[in-house]
């Protein structure tokens, strides 16, 4: 494949000098350079495209009952989106259950818009042309809590129960690799390959992690939500498939969100 041409040799020599300089760099700079990469990405977040589509979906009349989600109560009254994500998961009396955003959206889509669960969850996680309404709606609602402080309640007994269960599940080991959530997220200052692993049991890390999801994942070219985040963690934990809005989902999300209380919400973000 390589074919030299005499006339270009001088230029080649000049470039060799340049590349030797580059080789002298040391690995201690790696993390600094990764940080530069992340900063370079922050300026144009494709999550914007999901937020815009989600807002349209929120306002559109959809489903067999042909109504919009503008009467959906995310916990702060029907139709109130501003700041709602920062207080989820929470207990909803109408369902007698603690719900995270995505289980609540599913609830509104089935009870108010009249969709079946299967219809509402036709594409739980987007893949290229197969776009997920759930991810777009979540991006929109989450974006409406930017700058709001996380304030997840433990006032109701079921909220306390969900937290305690989430904490217990966080340490539950299983599968061929013996992994629990805590295997990767129970200690401070660790990383997997070059990715920092937040210690989700510690306030500062838990805050930083939770307030930056949903996020546009550049590795996938998709916007991902917390439900996806949990699913993909369990996949890599070698567990079976986590069901959308299951008790395990809600409990873990309650544990994670509550541990982030007090921090300013700042998502959808952009991540590797």
């Amino acid at each position: 494949m390589m074919q030299w041409r005499g006339g270009a040799l001088m230029l080649g020599a000049a470039l060799v000098a340049v590349s030797v300089g580059a080789q002298a760099q040391s690995g201690g700079d790696t993390i600094k350079k990764i940080e530069e990469y992340r900063q370079a990405l922050a300026d144009g977040n494709p999550a914007d495209l999901w937020e815009a589509r989600g807002e349209d979906l929120w306002k559109q009349k959809r489903g067999p009952k042909n109504v919009s989600l503008e009467r959906c109560d995310l916990g702060k009254g029907p139709g109130v989106v501003k700041g709602a994500y920062a207080e989820l998961p929470r207990y909803f009396a109408d369902a007698d259950r603690v719900m995270d955003l995505e289980s609540r959206l599913l609830h509104c889509m089935t009870t108010q818009q009249g969709m079946t669960r299967a219809e509402a969850l036709k594409v739980p996680f987007g893949d290229g042309e197969k776009r997920s309404d759930m991810e777009a709606l979540s991006a929109y609602v989450a974006g409406e809590s930017r700058g709001v402080k996380m304030n997840v309640s433990q006032a109701h007994a079921k909220e306390r129960q969900a937290y305690a269960l989430g904490q217990k599940l966080f340490y539950y080991r299983g599968g061929p690799h013996d992994f629990a959530c805590a295997t990767c997220h129970g200690e401070a200052n660790k990383r997997i390959r070059l990715q920092d692993l937040p210690n989700l049991t510690e306030t500062k890390d838990a805050q930083k992690a939770y307030t930056t999801w949903p996020a546009y994942r550049v590795s996938q070219g998709e916007l991902r939500t917390m439900q996806w985040r949990l699913n993909d963690c369990f996949r890599q934990q070698r567990f079976p498939f986590l069901e959308f809005g299951s008790d395990t989902s809600v409990a873990l999300l309650t544990f994670l969100a509550r541990n982030a209380n007090g921090a300013e919400f700042n998502a959808p973000a952009i991540k590797r």
């Binding site: 129960q161 305690a164 299983g174 070059l194 070698r238």
Partner: protein, 209 residues
């Protein structure tokens, strides 16, 4: 004695929980059985990942603890002893395979996930947690650096057996280690275990250059 330890652990657990949920009067207790029952209703089988993966063996049961609720030293010692006894060393007595194959296994992160083809051999994903060769800058820090592993420790029979055994069953030497039990849980084949052992101990491996 044992009761006292348990009581102390329980008190520590309550204190830790209270720290996280400050201002909350009562934190409900959740038993391992309750957690297991919730998991059973929350997961469905997919690909090679069946629901039996939610069933815990003794090690997983013992090691599913949070801060301040660690089992007693006696329990952990007994766990190590039982796991050590369960290690199957190769019948041919050879513990060193091909370090180049070992490097590929160390780099490969797939295997046993529901998204993985069960017919393809699993990787060990060593780099996810360990620094190993100086050439690979993308390594994790969950486990200790293994740079120069063999150079530091030499190549004695004892080191060979310890290294193979540790990869085979980490819990035999460190109870409740974060490291998977690659042999015990049939993640790697015997040949793969030998290859990864060689990556760490073969003098010609870049680990020891």
């Amino acid at each position: 004695m044992k009761y006292a330890t348990h009581l102390r652990n329980a008190l520590l657990a309550a204190a830790a929980a209270a720290l996280l949920v400050s201002g909350c009067a009562s934190t409900p207790r959740v038993s391992a059985e309750q957690a297991h029952d919730v998991l059973k209703t929350s997961f469905t089988e997919r690909g090679q990942a069946k629901l039996d993966r939610l069933e815990q063996d003794d090690v997983q049961k013992t090691c599913s603890y949070g801060p301040g609720t660690a089992p007693s030293k006696e329990v952990l010692d007994a766990l190590e002893k039982a796991q050590l006894a369960a290690i199957k060393f190769p019948a041919d007595g050879k513990l060193l395979g091909d370090w180049r194959a070992g490097e590929r296994i160390a780099q490969t992160g797939t295997g046993k996930q529901y998204s993985d083809n069960a017919a393809v051999p699993s990787g060990a994903n060593c780099y996810a947690c360990h620094q190993i060769t100086p050439q690979e800058i993308s390594y994790g820090t969950i486990g200790p650096s293994l740079l120069g592993y063999g150079k530091v420790r030499g190549n004695s029979e004892a080191i060979l057996r310890y290294t193979y055994g540790k990869i085979y069953n980490s819990n035999a030497y460190t109870a409740c280690s974060n490291m998977p039990r690659f042999g015990h849980q049939n993640i790697l084949t015997e040949q793969q275990l030998k290859d990864v052992t060689a990556l760490l101990l073969d003098p010609s491996s870049p680990v020891n250059k």
